[in-house]
């Protein structure tokens, strides 16, 4: 007998095989690399499109009967995506402008009446209703009307600025140690977002690894060699590693992109906070993977997994319904209770940590509860495969699962 038989845990070969099986897949490698490439590409693409549209501005005819209203005014002149052409006389007549628009001389026309500040309508000529440029033009004209009304009321520009000045807030904390930083919240939410996309990206591989393998009838060979729980443990370890590999590559790419681009990096975050966020990321991912594995272990074939895939996308966003409650009152009873529940903790507790509303004992406690729940879910997943594996063509229902788990 080889010595190795007594050294390695039973789940180890399953974890190794499953991990290598997934990471060697072409589609996995593509998605691993494609996500950052697409993100960077979209980011640059959006910039390129914005730049391109600035180079191809909307051509608008402009005529004003209001004294002092001119396209040379900064509010209108600084519209980067509009190229103004001042028209007057016969050229400013609506019929002439219609002809010019149809002839593509202009994309549209703006006619400002003398009493526009008093409520007379600014006339807009366009080929079809509600063109996008009307929204862009409306804002500076509203600002000009506001200035005009102020002047009519005897308020000069400086006076108007003084009126518009917002109030200043001076914060005095009863707990100086609870001062939050923008960096904390950005980091926490970025990692929660990373958790979410990693869960989504892993769901399909998890279905193939569990239901697909069950359907291929490989499990009976495997559980004749190792315990069903060891098989499930190996799968869970593999998928947690796969998820964390994705999170590392994607999170790392985002960070690198931020460093080497013009993004403003958030202020420094304490290593303790980062450690807490990462622990919730890993434990939360393990919890959701174990929960999905339990569901998938009860399903008879891959076709039937389409029934539950929608839930896999829906379930992890449920905690976000409560995010506003957390942000408004992070120390409220509801916020505290929710952030201790394993289902919500991976998303809500990092927000409370970032808001300095969860002392160390509390988030460590919630983390331990999350780990305990993951352990329970892992055992349930093992039971589901033990019961379901021999039921070819039949699915395990919840009462059966709970009865077997109890046994």
């Amino acid at each position: 007998m080889p010595d190795a038989r007594r050294k390695r845990p039973e789940w180890w070969p399953v974890a190794r095989f499953e991990f290598l099986r997934v990471v060697r897949r072409g589609d996995f490698l593509v998605s691993l690399v494609l996500m950052p490439v697409l993100s960077v590409g979209l980011s640059f693409g959006a910039g390129w499109i914005a730049n391109r549209s600035a180079n191809e501005p909307v051509k608008l005819a402009f005529s004003s009967a209001a004294p002092g209203i001119d396209v040379r005014l900064p509010a209108l002149d600084t519209l980067a995506t509009v190229k103004w052409s001042v028209v007057s006389g016969a050229n400013a007549e609506p019929e002439a402008l219609k002809t010019a628009i149809e002839a593509k001389t202009y994309d549209g026309a703006v006619l400002v009446p003398a009493g526009f500040a008093a409520g007379d309508s600014v006339r807009v000529l366009a080929k079809r209703s509600r063109p996008g440029w009307v929204r862009k033009v409306r804002e500076p004209l509203t600002e000009l009307a506001r200035l005009e009304r102020a002047r009519a009321a005897g308020v000069d520009a400086a006076g108007l600025t003084a009126i518009d000045e917002g109030i200043r807030i001076a914060e005095t904390l009863t707990r100086p140690e609870a001062k939050t930083s923008k960096g904390d919240m950005i980091t926490a939410m970025a990692l929660v977002f990373l958790l979410l996309i990693t869960i989504y990206a892993t769901a399909a591989y998890l279905a193939v690894g569990i239901t697909g393998e069950k359907q291929a009838r490989v499990t009976e060979v495997i559980v004749s060699a190792i315990k069903p729980q060891a098989w499930m443990d190996g799968k869970l370890v593999a998928f947690v590693l796969i998820g964390m590999l994705m999170a590392t590559v994607w999170g790392g790419s985002a960070l690198l992109f931020a460093v080497f681009s013009s993004w403003q990096l958030p202020p420094a975050v304490s290593p303790a906070s980062i450690a807490a966020y990462l622990l919730f990321l890993v434990a939360g991912f393990a919890f959701y993977v174990s929960m999905f594995a339990t569901i998938l272990a009860t399903i008879k074939d891959m076709q039937s997994t389409s029934r539950v895939q929608a839930y896999f996308y829906f379930i992890p966003v449920i905690p976000f319904i409560f995010i506003e409650t957390i942000l408004d009152k992070p120390e409220s009873t509801l916020a505290v209770i929710l952030s201790w529940i394993p289902f919500f903790a991976p998303m809500l507790m990092p927000a409370r940590i970032a808001l300095k509303a969860a002392p160390a004992w509390e988030w460590i406690g919630a983390l331990l509860v999350l780990i305990a729940a993951t352990h329970f879910m892992r055992l349930l997943a093992g039971t589901a495969i033990r019961v379901g594996m021999l039921m070819y063509g039949k699915e395990v229902n919840l009462p059966e699962l709970l009865r077997w788990a109890k046994d």
């Binding site: 099986r21 009838r217 021999l390």
Partner: protein, 334 residues
């Protein structure tokens, strides 16, 4: 562990398993001796696979015990299992799959791959080591599955329907491979419906029906028990001579009785004007008087004697235990 003390590698005592509406295995007991090839037989739905799963610890009996090599705990890593319901990782290379299956049985990755390659060579598939499983024929996949079940040189190999999907040439190869396996020290527990092959391979048998033992022992012992001593079969074919009468069933039976062949005589038509007569004989029985009696009346166109085979023993034992109607019901349900 008392491997040296006990000749039995596997001892099953009174295992019972009931599912919702029926008892699948009912107080079944048997022992498999070290180094033998043991045939575990029964009709579809008899409880064979459920019994094998209990032996392997995949499911647990409601009552009864399974002792493996003297221990009440089955060491799964010393057992090789080829289940009836089987599949493989179709998107994986053959050698990777074998390496994985070997590792599951406790081998190191290197050992598992080396053993996998040896088995591929033995089975004539060495050149397909790097092929993906979905590129192979069903028979080739069957061989890979077999290799995966035994590449770790198990103490006990449990093979459930290993011949299914194999052509006659590969069936012969499997017979030889299973014998080699036994010669190298692996005890084999074997379940199959190809009784002609099982008969050639197994040292002892257990036949079950409806979860209970019907008969057990060596082929000779079962033959003797089931036939009441008439362990040979005499088969004659009779036809009319040019000027003589057509063969008559009653006359044929009477001639057999006069010749001292007292057991059941089966007579059936073998075509127009021809009869096939079959009778059980004790060993070394003189068939001369019967041939002389019948030869005086009819032309004897075929004479054949053979030991009663496993197929016949199986049918007689199961029919006697269950009755024809119950057999048909079970076959329909399975």
């Amino acid at each position: 562990m008392n491997a040296a003390a006990s000749p039995s590698i596997l001892a099953v005592h009174g295992i019972t398993k009931a599912f919702k509406d029926r008892v699948a295995v009912d107080a079944l007991s048997f022992e498999v001796q070290r180094g033998e090839i043991f045939g575990f037989l029964g009709p579809n739905g008899a409880g064979k696979t459920t019994s094998l799963r209990m032996i392997l610890g995949i499911t647990h009996p409601d009552s009864g015990t399974v002792t493996f090599d003297g221990s009440p705990t089955v060491d799964r890593r010393r057992i090789g299992y080829l289940p009836e319901e089987r599949g493989l990782f179709e998107d994986q290379k053959v050698i990777d799959t074998l390496g994985y299956l070997g590792q599951l049985r406790g081998m190191s990755p290197r050992e598992a791959r080396a053993a996998g390659m040896q088995w591929l060579e033995r089975l004539g598939l060495a050149d397909r080591a790097k092929s993906k499983l979905n590129e192979l024929s069903k028979g080739m996949q069957q061989k890979i599955q077999f290799a995966g079940a035994v590449l770790h040189a198990p103490t006990l190999a449990v093979l459930d329907e290993p011949f299914s999907g194999l052509d006659p040439l590969n069936q012969e190869l499997f017979l030889s491979v299973v014998r080699d396996l036994r010669d190298q020290g692996t005890t084999v527990l074997f379940s199959a419906h190809q009784l002609n092959l099982v008969e050639r391979l197994c040292d002892r048998f257990l036949l079950i029906a409806r979860g209970r033992e019907v008969i057990t022992g060596s082929l000779d012992a079962m033959r003797s028990a089931i036939t009441g001593g008439a362990s040979e079969t005499l088969v004659l074919e009779l036809s009319a001579r040019d000027d003589g009468p057509s063969p008559d069933a009653a006359a044929a039976r009477a001639a057999f009785h006069r010749a001292g062949i007292a057991g059941a005589v089966k007579v059936e038509s073998a075509g127009v004007g021809r009869l096939r007569v079959e009778a059980g004989l004790p060993p070394l029985h003189d068939v001369g008087p019967a041939l002389a009696a019948l030869g005086g009346m009819y032309a004897i166109t075929r004479v054949e004697t053979a030991p009663i085979g496993l197929h016949e023993i199986y049918l007689r034992a199961v029919r006697s235990a269950m009755g024809d109607s119950a057999l048909e019901e079970d076959a329909a349900r399975a």
